[in-house]
């Protein structure tokens, strides 16, 4: 238990991806079964333990200590799980003679009935160290919040066994905690587990961005073009009566889109884009799609207003036949014939874009027929469906990003390598009547600049600080003084959370405009005009 607790403590404070991977692989390498598999399940969200409510936790602790002292403590720390882990009084004369393993903790929690759950929890806390208490409370209150995605945990497994992460993702949904057969394979002690379960996720094929000069080297006739839809890349798999809708990282998202899942009455694995609307009439915008995202439950009303459908790109398997080794041209034929027979309100085909040369395609790309198109995809006619991001067969050629000239307002110190630099920037544009202009923040960016530029901005921030709050500095920014940043972004959404009323998607610093006077930076109306388009 203590090693798991220590791992959580380190992960939550380690900002870099590589640092997290090292901590995870070291843990998986040094901890035995079944503890490591249970830890893995806790991190990927695949561990089920009956939840304990915060009110119950609080009741447990104030039975054991003065409520006033608990109140002072909670006020100071601000987090219930952490406060309880710190103040939990060990019973008089109680010296635990054995540190429970993670497996014992999980076993006892899973075996507890609803009524004796709190008592079991209390006994576990009595025996645990402070860090272990924190980890136990996190397990029972749900949500470790350690900044590690399931995908990253799987990457750590791949590093451990020196295999491709795609192999792990392909296996994943057929495995269950504590994953002993998976670890045995990764450590070379056993054969690769066979995927026995139905409707498993197949690792998806991804594209590379078109770089300057790439197209000159490519023959237009070798490639098919299709629109790049800015929805959610999904994989719909139905096998032997099991239906699953997966995100591109293999998370099962069927629950969030019950309307689409209900229409999945076929035997196949299809790759496509999840969008909202009725494909026969109109495709919804990104704002419409957002109505369906990040919701715990989807009301019938929302489902009706913003129905989900799938625009199909590719067929990986049809009626038991694996098509992935076939060339794209062949797969496309299979796909066209197959989609024909599906519910037309829930499935349609992503149309191909006819073109003869790159100039023609460039013109089409600049003026796409729908706002939710973010560019074109190029797919080699002869390419098989390959997991990952192979260089060459698939390209994405995005619409040029929007840019805006904004003024640097706040800078925050970075993490890890960048912890001695002010590297996270909040920027704003002008608002208000002439003569009384004010900057309103419109976004935050922390990449897009070179190391040299980072040093220059850092110096500028230090030389022009007007106020500091913790790791944040407020930078001089008025009509006469201020650093203008050219910010590139992919799109805008309306936002009620931001004072400016807009939220940028993927903002990044594209140029430093040392030459530009602050007063000449853009106004909020420029952004608002983009919103209304």
């Amino acid at each position: 238990m203590n090693r798991f607790a220590e791992l959580l403590d380190r992960l939550v404070l380690t900002p870099s991806r590589n640092g997290k991977l090292t901590l995870l692989t070291d843990y998986f390498r040094s901890v035995e079964d079944p503890d490591r598999g249970l830890a893995l399940a806790a991190i990927t969200g695949d561990l089920t333990i009956a939840a304990v409510k915060p009110a119950m936790l609080r009741a447990l602790v104030v039975e054991r200590m003065d409520p006033v002292l608990f109140g002072y403590s909670y006020d100071y720390v601000g987090d219930l799980a952490e406060t309880v882990s710190l103040v939990w009084p060990q019973p008089q004369g109680h010296i635990p003679n054995h540190v429970p393993t993670l497996a014992e903790v999980v076993g006892r929690l899973q075996a507890a009935s609803r009524s004796d759950g709190p008592k079991v929890l209390a006994r576990l806390l009595d025996d645990a160290s402070i860090s272990a208490r924190f980890a136990i409370i996190k397990l029972v209150t749900g949500g470790l919040r350690i900044g590690v995605s399931a995908r990253l945990a799987k990457q750590a497994l791949a590093d451990l066994g020196k295999v491709d992460v795609a192999e792990i993702e392909e296996l994943w949904h057929g495995l269950a905690p504590p994953y002993t057969e998976l670890f045995a394979w990764l450590e070379g002690r056993a054969e690769k587990p066979r995927s026995a379960a139905l409707a498993l996720f197949r690792p998806v094929m991804l594209s590379n961005a078109v770089d300057d000069g790439d197209l000159e080297k490519l023959e237009p006739a070798d490639y098919a073009a299709e629109w790049k839809w800015d929805g959610i890349r999904v994989q719909a798999v139905c096998e032997g009566g099991v239906r699953r809708l997966y995100s591109r990282t293999g998370d099962d998202v069927s629950g969030a889109f019950p309307d689409l899942a209900a229409a999945m009455t076929f035997e196949a694995a299809l790759d496509g884009e999840l969008l909202v609307g009725d494909p026969r009439e109109a495709t919804g915008t990104f704002s419409d799609l957002q109505q369906r995202l990040n919701r715990k439950s989807v009301s019938p009303k929302i489902q009706q207003q913003y129905p989900a459908f799938m625009r199909c790109y590719d067929a990986l398997q049809i009626n038991g036949e694996d098509l992935r080794a076939l060339p794209f041209a062949e797969r496309r034929k299979h796909l066209e014939a197959f989609v024909e027979a599906l519910d037309p309100s829930r499935f349609d085909l992503s149309p191909l874009v006819a073109f003869s040369d790159w100039e023609t395609l460039e013109r089409l790309r600049q003026a796409p027929p729908h706002p939710i198109i973010e560019g074109v995809m190029l797919k080699r006619w002869d390419s098989p469906y390959l997991a990952g991001r192979p260089k060459g067969p698939w390209f994405k050629w995005k619409r040029d990003p929007h840019t805006v000239d904004a003024v640097l307002m706040y800078a925050q110190r970075g993490h890890g390598k960048r912890s001695s630099f002010y590297s996270d920037y909040t920027f704003g544009v002008w608002a208000g009547p002439e003569g009384a202009e004010e900057l309103v923040p419109v976004g935050k960016a922390y990449f897009g600049f070179t190391d040299e530029e980072l040093r220059e901005i850092d110096k500028y921030v230090r030389d022009n600080t007007i106020e500091r709050f913790g790791p944040v500095r407020s930078v001089r920014a008025d009509r006469k003084n201020g650093l203008v940043l050219e910010v590139a972004f992919e799109g805008l959404n309306r936002s009620t959370r931001h004072k400016s009323g807009v939220a940028m998607r993927f903002p990044r610093i594209s140029r430093l405009r040392w030459d530009k006077p602050a007063a000449e930076a853009d106004r909020i109306e420029t952004l608002q005009a983009l919103l209304d388009r």
Partner: protein
């Protein structure tokens, strides 16, 4: 004699009217008794100073030899008479030279703790509980959430991390007086025998500790002259916390920032400060040490100063011990 006639708070600090002296005054006074060398307790410019020899030496190093008009070294356990008041210094276990000060007159004994801790520390003498009528305790970590783990466990985490990330350097933020030397000594006691790189601000005091027989092993300046960036791969570097936000820190390869402080018990504190590896090592008593100490002094009355008074006063009330906060201004716990 009533306790409040023997010691009372004045804007300059804690004052003894019959003895006409101050303990740890924050402004220049005629006669000052000083518990230890941290800058919020030991200030320059007093007419005369009574403190342990180590504290006097440390003040000399920090403020220059003329930091006071006259100085007198107090020997631990030996009583000095000041205007008829019996004054005795006893070890406080906080930093090298730190002392509690017992003030006694007419059958009334008050002990002013200064800063103290109970965990053992190879760089200073251990705290001795003194029976008294009134105990003036610090309360820097006076909340039940502060429970310091054994220091060797914390140091073991640094060494484990150094083995896990051999290509990176570990920067340990530790205050210049006391904490820094304790951390270095703990590294040595854990068997770490490579040179430890130190920020320039730690050099004088670390040399002084070594001259007092506290072996810190080989210390090297953490400067560019000591090597190129790659040469610091795997290195452990100790410096004052303020230095890590500076350009100074950039000479080290992909540093993991560590901070040795009792405040690191709270995750949010570590997060806000960008600390990747918090080390809960404190030179102040934690909650459990505070209440054990209060009991051991046998004091009937507790005055709480220096930090979070309300929780400790509440605990005393529950235990049936008279307690009140003693409001003294100007102490900012430099030492943690």
């Amino acid at each position: 004699m009533r306790a409040s006639d023997l010691l009372k708070s004045r804007p300059e600090g804690l004052y003894c009217p019959p003895g006409d002296f101050f303990i740890d005054p924050v402004r220049p006074v005629e006669r000052a008794l000083i518990t230890h060398g941290h800058s919020d307790h030991a200030r320059s410019g007093h007419r005369s100073v009574l403190a342990t020899q180590e504290t006097l030496d440390i003040m000399g190093l920090r403020y220059g030899e003329d930091f006071a008009g006259t100085t007198q070294a107090a020997t631990l356990g030996e009583t000095v008479d000041i205007n008829g008041i019996a004054v005795t210094f006893h070890p406080a276990g906080h930093v090298l030279g730190s002392a509690q000060i017992a003030v006694e007159h007419g059958g009334m004994r008050i002990v002013a703790s200064g800063d103290y801790k109970r965990q053992k520390d190879a760089t200073c003498l251990p705290f001795e509980p003194i029976r008294c009528d009134v105990f003036i305790t610090e309360a820097t970590f006076g909340l039940p959430v502060f429970r310091h783990p054994p220091d060797h466990e914390e140091i073991a985490r640094v060494l484990k991390s150094a083995a896990q990330f051999p290509e990176r350097s570990h920067l340990i933020g530790a205050y210049a007086l006391g904490k820094a030397q304790r951390v270095m000594r703990l590294l040595r006691d854990a068997g770490y025998d490579r040179p430890i790189y130190i920020h320039g601000a730690l050099a004088k005091l670390s040399d002084y500790y070594q001259s007092q027989g506290i072996d810190l092993g080989r210390l090297e300046p953490g400067t560019v002259e000591s090597g190129a960036k790659a040469d610091f791969a795997g290195a452990i570097v100790v410096g004052p916390p303020s230095a890590f936000a500076d350009r100074w820190a950039r000479r080290f390869p992909d540093p993991i920032s560590c901070f040795a402080s009792g405040w690191m018990r709270i995750r949010q504190r570590a997060k806000q400060g960008g600390v990747e590896l918090p080390l809960i090592i404190s030179d102040h008593a934690d909650w459990d040490e505070l209440i054990v100490t209060i009991k051991e002094t046998g004091a009937e009355e507790i005055w709480v100063t220096h930090g979070r008074e309300e929780a400790l006063v509440r605990w005393c009330e529950l235990e049936g011990i008279a307690a009140r906060p003693l409001h003294l201004v100007g102490y900012e716990d430099e030492g943690d």
